[in-house]
């Protein structure tokens, strides 16, 4: 089967790649573009490890075809920090020990960033329901929830 030429923007950079019609966006990010920060935990939309933003919308990149990224903008964990300056979520995850193995972390950071963008002051319950699609097997979520709430507070300037 011949491949599809895709032009898209990833983390602000214009990129091109050739996608098999069956390749997911996740496959293309990882295998074509070398952006392996986005993880595959299930490939069926159940774990959230592959979370990215596509034109600002939070999606499971394992459920999007690579070809669908044509002309769109993709934001992955690699684009979260501003050069050497970490995003507050990234800093708070380290400070709160909100990661153990760290495999769920990229997806959770991307999802939490999407949450704080549209709801800068979420309640604990709102954070828990927003992140219900992001599985973490290590932490029991406690420190993750605290880190997200704390990052939100810092971003609102209420520290």
């Amino acid at each position: 089967m011949s491949k599809i030429h895709v032009s898209t923007t990833v983390n602000g950079d214009a990129v091109e790649f050739l996608a098999d019609p069956r390749d997911t966006l996740l496959d293309c990010l990882r295998d074509q573009l070398g952006l392996t920060g986005t993880k595959e935990g299930c490939g069926t939309g159940d774990c959230g490890a592959c979370s990215v933003q596509l034109d600002g919308v939070l999606v499971c990149s394992c459920l999007v075809l690579g070809a669908e990224a044509e002309g769109k903008t993709v934001a992955t964990v690699e684009g979260l920090s501003n050069g050497p300056d970490l995003h507050p979520l990234q800093r708070k995850f380290i400070e709160h020990a909100a990661l153990q193995c760290g495999f769920c972390t990229p997806g959770i950071l991307v999802a939490a960033n999407a949450l704080l963008t549209q709801n800068p002051d979420p309640t604990e319950v709102e954070v828990r329901y927003w992140l219900a699609g992001n599985l973490c097997r290590c932490t029991g979520y406690d420190k993750i929830i605290r880190a997200v709430m704390d990052a939100g507070a810092e971003m609102r300037g209420t520290h």
Binding site: D20, R22, D23, D27, R30, D31, L35, T36, G37, T38, K39, E40, G41, C42, G43, T44, D46, C47, A49, T76, V77, E78, L80, L86, L89, Q90, F93, I94, E95, H96, A97, L99, Q100, C101, G102, F103, C104, T105, P106, L109, V125, V127, R128, Y129, L131, A132, G133, N134, L135, C136, R137, C138, T139, G140, Y141, D142, K143, I144, I145, R146
Partner: protein
């Protein structure tokens, strides 16, 4: 070191610095199993049996090999024969021989130039099967009419006349059981069942392997133990261990499930067959659930005798466990040993049977065997306390194992912290929160042995006085931080001046995996000893420089100093000065420690959970959760809390939702995360923790190891809480909404 010598105030131990690998892990830079590629790399896919039990009549790979870009297909015929014991089990589980033993058992593997091509080619491999009768349930597998999975597997321990699927029998105990039960005011016996669950690490198994015709190979793999991968792959492939160099990737969770091999030898065998090209093999989630280590399922009887004052006079347990189609894979021995380990009981007797079933080969899962055993014993204990009108936590405290007591499984306990743990639990504010309608509170205790094991650590002083530590235990949740802290504490230098590297198999002596809660304990102990060796050398260098005896120099705050006024007056010589001069003062300075670490400190915990059960749906909501556990010493308390919280939540999943669901055809029906439902953030409250510290006298900083005990109490604690909320006792897991609802309805009908 006697426990009284253990300092209680430290500069670094007990603080919460940022973990050294944090930056890599929040930026997506950390490289896990599937995150690397190699020039000329091929991709592999595995052909798996769709049958629970089937004879393999014929494998025809001609159509697959005819595809452009398919470079190799392997079957069992590509592996050496004549393996025995666990090596044979590992080989058989890697790739079926004559018979596929469970749904998902690998039968062939393909390597091709792309992932999609490999998957297409795998579908073109034709396998002809003769389907055989199968058995899934542990009790059914022991019945006279059960299909025989592999005749002749049983060892000598099995009593005559049992079904050939019963492959191992264990019994042990002490005291006069009959007299103990006769002395009791209340004797009760009950039966319990738990279903298999999966470790559920979010990172699927992944590796990149390369092997030439000369048997030299390399492997990058997500594993808890690179030396185990090396030894097991070499055994399965018939190659020499030292010719295989195994580098551990970052690991996306293991929980015991990544202490063994599943598909790693396939990547190496494919590479060998494809002329030495590197082969990448990444499992799908369905493959992980169908073909990698779930835990055992269990069927258990417990009998206990208690006096009206709560004294336990006698207890006996009889456990049956299946760990798949392979002998030695179920943790029945551990389950028996853990069952009564929390209590001092004058008369105990344990019996256990290991049984084969057509299921995947069980792997270790966090405190293997202990959660099932606790479910049975702690549930019955709770029931009896309520029958006698006693406070279940007070009864646990009354019978609690203490220093000097003979453990139910044989040895005599050294200093342990169960009493302190139960006291802290009973004093916690959560126990005073009033409960509403349909709400209930449940408690339980739990135990794990902890483990030392083969450990080798190396430490080197840099030219600027900073320090590199090489350890062999992969970091599953912050051990780089705790090891760096202990090393820096010992050397009297900044935490940031130490870099801890997890190294490949060529760089150190043999290390056991990160298992048994041993990384911070055993690698920590070895790192401290290695640091002390380096300190001795640095003191000797300073002594030579000053022209005094090495004994007249001591190490203080990261510098050599004269020991007392008689040694002479010299300014402190810092580690940086000594490092800068080492080339001219005798050469590189390093420390090593190799040990099979003893001095393990047993671990005890107690959990209290409040639940609300919806009488309309049977759904259980966890309202409040408390974990109290003795850490010995918490080196980095945040990561200790993390272990407590993570273990508790895995236990909550096991108790309430998780199970392997098989159809009548013996196929696993829920091999996706949507249907194998692990706890999600919205299922849970915050998980409260209390770290009790009763230092382990066998470790320089008092560490016990904290990884495993936390998964043990949730199973019974939730059963006890649900019983308190509903008046209904569930004795089989999971306590999923339909089961709880059916039990409530049956109870209402009386």
């Amino acid at each position: 070191m006697p426990k009284d010598d253990l300092k209680t105030a430290y500069r670094l131990v007990g603080t919460r610095p940022n973990r050294p690998d944090g930056l890599d892990k929040v930026t997506g830079r950390a490289r896990y199993g599937a995150d690397i590629s190699a020039p000329g790399m091929l991709h592999a896919a595995v052909v798996r049996s769709p049958h629970a039990h089937a004879r393999i009549i014929r494998i025809d790979a001609s159509k697959a090999l005819a595809l452009d870009g398919v470079k190799a297909v392997i079957t069992r015929a590509d592996f050496p024969t004549g393996l025995t014991g666990e090596d044979w089990n590992l080989q058989e589980n890697t790739l079926a021989g004559d018979v596929a033993l469970y749904d998902g058992h690998a039968v062939a593997a393909v390597a091709a130039t792309s992932k999609l091509l490999a998957q297409d080619a795998a579908r073109l491999v034709e396998v002809e099967y003769e389907v055989l009768p199968h058995v899934i349930d542990v009790d059914a597998a022991m019945q006279p009419d059960a299909p025989v999975i592999r005749a002749g597997t049983a060892d000598h321990s099995v009593p005559e006349g049992m079904h050939p699927n019963v492959v191992k029998y264990i019994e042990f105990g002490h005291g006069d059981l009959e007299a103990g039960f006769a002395e009791a005011d209340l004797v009760r016996a009950q039966s319990y069942k738990t279903e298999a669950t999966h470790q559920g690490y979010i990172e699927p198994h992944a590796c990149l392997g390369q092997m030439g015709a000369d048997g030299k190979g390399e492997m990058w793999v997500c594993t808890q133990g690179q030396w185990y991968i090396r030894r097991m792959c070499s055994a399965v492939l018939g190659t020499e261990a030292s010719q295989l160099r195994v580098t551990p990737s970052e690991i996306g969770g293991g929980f015991g499930g990544k202490t063994t091999i599943f598909m790693e030898p396939l990547a190496l065998a494919l590479s060998r067959k494809a002329g030495g090209r590197p082969v990448k093999l990444v499992m799908s989630r369905a493959e992980v659930l169908r073909a990698t280590g779930p835990t055992a399922s269990a069927s258990m009887d417990v009998k206990m005798g208690m006096k009206v004052d709560g004294t336990i006079t006698a207890a006996s347990v009889n456990f049956r466990m299946q760990g798949g189609a392979f002998i030695g894979s179920s943790p029945v021995g551990e389950a028996l040993s853990c069952a009564l380990a929390c209590y001092t009981v004058p008369a105990v007797f344990h019996q256990g049977y290991e049984v084969l079933a057509n299921r995947p080969k069980a792997a270790a899962y966090r405190a293997p065997g202990s959660p099932m055993a606790a479910f049975a014993v702690e549930s019955l204990l709770d029931e009896m306390c309520h029958e006698l009108g006693l406070d279940p936590l007070a009864v646990r405290l009354k019978n609690a194992a203490r220093e000097g007591a003979k453990a139910s499984y044989g040895p005599t306990y050294n200093r342990i912290g169960l009493v302190e743990t139960l006291e802290a639990t009973m004093a916690h504010a959560n126990l005073k929160v009033p409960l509403g309608p349909n709400q209930g509170r449940g408690a339980a205790a739990g135990f794990w042995f902890n483990h030392g094991g083969e450990t080798s650590v190396s430490l080197a002083i840099g030219e600027d006085g900073t320090v590199t530590v090489s350890v062999g235990t992969p970091d599953v949740g912050g051990s780089r931080a705790s090891l760096g802290m202990m090393t820096a504490e010992t050397l009297g230098i900044a935490y940031e001046s130490v870099r801890v590297n997890i190294v490949e198999t060529g760089a150190l002596g043999v290390n056991e995996p990160t298992h048994g809660s041993r990384a911070t304990f055993a690698s920590g102990l070895a790192a401290v000893e290695a640091a002390k060796q380096a300190i001795a050398q640095m003191c000797a260098r300073a002594a030579a420089e000053w022209g005094i005896d090495a004994e007249a120099v001591e190490w203080l705050d990261g510098a050599a100093v004269p020991a007392g006024p008689n040694a002479g007056k010299f300014p402190p010589m810092s580690i940086a000065e000594i490092g800068a001069k080492m080339g001219s003062t005798g050469g590189p300075i390093s420390g090593h420690h190799e040990v099979t670490a003893g001095g393990v400190g047993a671990s005890f915990g107690a959990h209290v959970v409040d639940v609300e059960v919806d009488p309309e749906t049977g759904r259980t909501t966890v309202l409040r959760y408390l974990v109290v556990q003795d850490a010995g010493r918490a080196i980095h308390p945040a990561y200790v809390e993390g272990q407590y919280q993570g273990g508790a939540v895995q236990g909550i999943g096991w108790a309430l939702n998780e199970e392997y669901v098989y159809g009548a055809d013996g196929r696993l029906q829920n091999a996706v995360f949507l249907d194998y439902r692990i706890p999600v953030a919205s299922d849970l409250p915050m998980i409260d923790t209390v770290i009790v510290e009763v230092p382990n006298p066998g470790h320089p900083y008092g560490v016990r190891g904290v990884g495993e005990t936390g998964i043990t109490p949730p199973l019974p604690a939730l059963a006890n809480a649900i019983a308190a909320a509903t008046g209904v006792r569930l004795r089989s897991l999971p306590m999923s909404p339909p089961k709880v609802l059916a039990a409530i309805k049956a109870n209402a009908r009386g």
